[in-house]
């Protein structure tokens, strides 16, 4: 899949970014806001895909990295009064540090034990948020006030609560992470990760230090998820414990499975598709978890490669 000229892959990704940019001017207000949210969550899914798709490590606890970014950025503003850029970096740093610690511990296990360990650490993180309700706001959550969400560059200021600014900020973050992911996947490092997924013992025998490669992947994945969480707090102004619950560990898994694991654009397609399905069905039923459940089962039964994974297998072998 890497033989084809890189130009075609880059052209496709830049095309997608251009399309998202163009959509900003034509979409009606409701979908405009929804797509901004989807782009931020697609970053979360891309971070998840980094570990699940390319290294083959199924984590059931990525909500803690999203939550670390969300609370790192949100609480830095609410409790410490930091500015927007610093708060964003603070949130990302929280996620990176947490990912390093969790990676060091959880990577000692493999397979099913890895899933359960990550789920338990995420549960501890979630319970800690509830326990320290005095600072975090507990299960009520907290609103990041509007005046604190304005970026000042000398004379000009950027108001993150303005829909257009919000959309463009989400697009910038999304494009950045998408291109970084593409670069990682095409790099030597990305191929080592895939080799670990396919056969860890053999990769080890070829002289690669699989543990530190996997640890690096956990940290990168956690950092991307934290960036998504921090952006969510700053753009949408709400910090709540539900974003750290088990459900938010399952959702990125669902998005990635749906779009296609180990494809760079799969996370975006999965997220868009899932939101579209929920949007359509919410006209008939409020039971959206039912849809999530049925989608998960149908996917693992009939579509284990996801939308883009199947397309790649059938027609477009060059898709990264």
């Amino acid at each position: 899949m890497n033989e084809a000229s890189p130009a075609r892959a880059y052209a496709l990704h830049l095309g997608v970014i251009a399309l998202l940019f163009a959509l900003s001017f034509v979409l009606p207000e409701y979908y405009h806001g929804l797509l901004a949210r989807i782009m931020v969550l697609a970053v979360f899914a891309m971070g998840y895909n980094m570990l699940f798709g390319y290294v083959g490590l199924l984590s059931l606890g990525h909500a803690m990295f999203f939550g670390a970014g969300l609370y790192g950025a949100g609480l830095a503003i609410i409790q410490l009064g930091w500015g927007v850029p610093l708060a964003f970096l603070g949130g990302v740093a929280c996620g990176a540090l947490l990912a390093l610690v969790i990676g060091l511990l959880a990577l000692r296990t493999t397979g099913v034990a890895f899933m359960i360990v990550t789920m338990m650490f995420a549960q501890v993180f979630y319970l800690l948020i509830l326990y320290f309700a005095a600072w975090t706001g507990g299960d009520q959550g907290q609103v990041v006030p509007q005046p604190a969400r304005v970026l000042n560059f000398g004379a000009t200021s950027l108001d993150l609560t303005n829909p257009t600014v919000r959309y463009m900020t989400a697009l910038v973050l999304f494009s950045l992470v998408l291109l970084v992911m593409l670069a990682i996947v095409r790099s030597r490092y990305g191929r080592v990760l895939v080799a670990i997924r396919e056969n860890e013992e053999r990769t080890k025998m070829l002289g690669y230090d699989t543990f530190s490669n996997k640890l690096m992947a956990v940290v990168v994945s956690g950092t991307i998820c934290a960036a998504s969480g921090a952006a969510y707090a700053l753009l949408f102004g709400y910090v709540g414990s539900s974003f750290a619950s088990v459900q938010y560990s399952i959702l990125p898994l669902l998005w990635v499975l749906l779009g296609g694991a180990a494809t760079t654009l799969g996370p975006l397609i999965g997220t868009v598709f899932m939101y579209y399905v929920i949007d359509v069905t919410s006209g008939y039923t409020s039971a959206y978890l039912l849809i999530v459940g049925i989608a998960l089962i149908l996917l693992v039964l009939f579509f284990p490669k996801g939308i883009l994974g199947s397309i790649r297998q059938r027609w477009l072998g060059w898709l990264p």
Binding site: L58, L60, L105, A106, R108, T109, G111, V112, A113, M115, I116, V117, M120, F121, Q123, V124, L127, L128, L130, Y131, I250, L253, L257, A287, L289, L290, V292, G293, I294, A295, L296, I297, L299, V300, L301, P304
Partner: protein, 293 residues
Amino acid sequence: MHFGPHLLLAALEGLVTSAVLALTALGLSLVFGVMRVVNVAHGEFFMLGAVLAWAISTAISGHPALGFLAALVIAPLIVGAIALVAERLVLRRLNYNPEATIVATIGMLYIIQQLALTFYGPEARPVEPPFSYRILLPWFGYSGYKLSIIAASALLLIVTWLVLTRTRIGLIMRATQYDSETAQAFGIPVDRVYGGVFALGAMLAAIAAVLIVPISQAHYLMGQDPLLLSFIVVIIGGLGSLRGTVVAAVLIGLSDGIISMFFSPTLAKIIATLLVAMVLVFRPQGLFGTASR
């Protein structure tokens, strides 16, 4: 109340938790041990048992014991049948691949939970206990029904142990657990054993739920805590070990009861979860289990 009686009360409450937990965790442990499937929907089978117990006991008029006994027999059978259907339709087609089955059982969790919310509603509803005899201790009165839960659970655990170690069915199950391919080669219908074990696991959870529902109420979200606690118990006890599961259930139930009485329940959960994650990281075979093959 003085510290001593207070501690006794906490310990009794903890033992009731342990009794229910041991049954639920045993179901999870059997399914994992024999099928190598981590059943994330296990807590929902527990919840279904409780909700069905409410439905059955309200449908039957007369003495509360009548409705309760009917629930104790019928609810686990229905839950077992549902589990069997889920196993045949989904898990078998996935060839019991560990990662795919985890995703599929997460899907089942959401489906069952949402259906319970739709058809049963968001209310918590009580079931009347079959009898309301209070045992008077020198310091406080204690519900006789709660003590009978402990007895019933102990009885069921002994029966399960006897079935596993002394009967042909138990032998077949253990052979499948030990080496499913060789078992298949010796003419054991491994496929049917898997179906039966999955249903049995769900039924154990349902029985535990029927036992607990007269003192805790049926609610559509009640499956979450038992799931997490069962995971904890199964991991500490060593996956697939009955003795370890029971010891760990008593340990976790007692410490949960005592810690929650004297400290915050959230703190108790944080400490327990963190400890278990550490056990899994540094001693993956569990505290009582032997090293995995």
